[in-house]
Symmetry: C2
Subunit: 85 residues, 2 copies
């Protein structure tokens, strides 16, 4: 069994209104050192699959088909083995 940690970020050229809003709020709170904020998604997926190669291919497929919009987003992921409880 594996746990996949998926990070989805907007491509650098894509506008990020959520990030701009967070930056504005941080400035208002007095964090004047903040230069840029980019907001993204973080998804953890537990997979019932013992073969690392298969698990990697599956997560890659999931990202392309559902999790990330590859026109405007980049994704990367890590797989960690998970011990059965």
């Amino acid at each position: 069994m594996y746990i996949a940690k998926v990070y989805i970020t907007l491509k650098p050229t894509v506008n990020d209104p959520q990030g701009l809003t967070i930056r504005g709020a941080l400035h208002t709170l007095g964090f004047s050192t903040v230069q840029e904020v980019r907001a993204g998604k973080y998804i953890e997926i537990k997979i019932e699959e013992n073969d690392l190669v298969k698990a990697r291919a599956e997560v890659q497929d999931m990202c392309k088909k559902l999790l990330a919009n590859t026109v405007i987003e980049n994704f990367r992921f890590e797989l960690e083995p998970l011990k059965a409880p």
Copy 2:
């Protein structure tokens, strides 16, 4: 200058309707090995600060004051030095 990579996740006991929805969608797409999905946030923050200790304290403060709702969410972050362009 540092870049902070902040990961915000729901605490394990908190219901995660977004994660359940993603799991349902993945099952519908045929990814039957998926057991559990937890959705979270991923935020990258560029900080104009050359002192690692100060930068760490600032990001910690930002998470507590704005980025994470510590009643229902956990956060962790990494700081990486960033070369000026």
